[in-house]
Amino acid sequence: MPIRWLKCEEALRLLSDSKDGQASFFERFSLKIHLWVCKNCPICRNHLQFIQRLLKRLPASQAAGQEEKLSDAAKLRIKQKMEKNG
């Protein structure tokens, strides 16, 4: 596939595809050229990178915040089941 000028909609799609290793060499190169010239798409790329880093860290942050816990009833139920099966 030749290198070509991308519309923003195509560039956004390739931004996503490239995160999953799904963009070809020529697509990635075309995307690079678009990002040099376009004002919005590089910002969107930064937003997506932010989200990717965010979600990787989310479980650990929730553990640190200790917002979610097993209810006492659930803990009791699980212990009883384990004793029955132990």
Binding site: C8, E9, L12, R13, S16, D17, K19, D20, G21, Q22, K39, N40, I43, C44, N46, H47, L48, F50, I51, Q52, R53, L54, L55, K56, R57, L58, P59, S61, Q62, A63, G65, Q66, E67, E68, K69, L70, S71, A74, K75, R77, I78, K79, K81, M82, E83, N85, G86
Partner: protein, 181 residues
């Protein structure tokens, strides 16, 4: 190794629960998965090697339970009928028209803010359920595309579209509900 079952639940129950809840987003399902994990761990405790981390071992079992849970779902993820709650296409159209601004934030710092975590969780919960689980397995656990296609019974092409739409919808939701303010 900790032998007491009460110790297992007290020590690791919350950690496993949060791990499951982050991925399946439903408290009842997360509880069931934690229960299944402890029971499976109980049955397989002879396989656990002293000296390694019991928590890591249990989370390994939980990961398999989560995958089995998603695999057992009966629904088919389709792109033809846009699922309820999906507004990714509208979001992309808006994105193309408006000038964007940098968020000027670090993910790590943002996650220290409880209000931001609440906004993020609301945005995640607003994603169509059929996409959300697949998307979170990709982003949180870096699951490979081939495995995701296998578990969620989607084609590679559909997977790419789902991930794209989920990313765009989440981006738009965070911008509207947090960063724009």
């Amino acid at each position: 190794m900790v032998d007491s079952t009460a110790d297992w639940v007290e020590r690791y129950g919350d950690i496993l629960y949060r791990f499951a809840l982050a991925r399946c987003r439903t408290p009842e399902v997360a509880e069931d998965l934690v229960q299944e994990t402890f029971l499976a761990g109980l049955r397989a405790r002879q396989n656990f090697r002293d000296g390694s981390s019991l928590q890591t071992w249990l989370i390994g079992i939980l990961k398999h339970k989560i995958i089995d849970h998603f695999r057992s779902r009966k629904w088919t993820i389709s792109l033809d009928n846009a699922p309820e709650g999906h507004n990714a296409d509208g979001e992309i159209t808006r994105l193309l028209k408006l000038p964007l601004k940098e968020w000027n934030a670090s993910p790590e710092k943002a996650l220290e803010n409880q209000a931001f975590r609440r906004a993020l969780n609301q945005c995640l919960d607003s994603l169509p359920e059929t996409w959300r689980e697949l998307f979170l397995m990709r982003e949180m656990d870096e699951m490979e595309s081939a495995e995701l296609c296998n578990i969620f019974k989607v084609s590679p092409t559909n997977l790419r579209v789902i991930l794209y739409r989920a990313r765009m919808q989440l981006r738009g939701c965070l911008e509207k509900n947090w960063f724009r303010n």
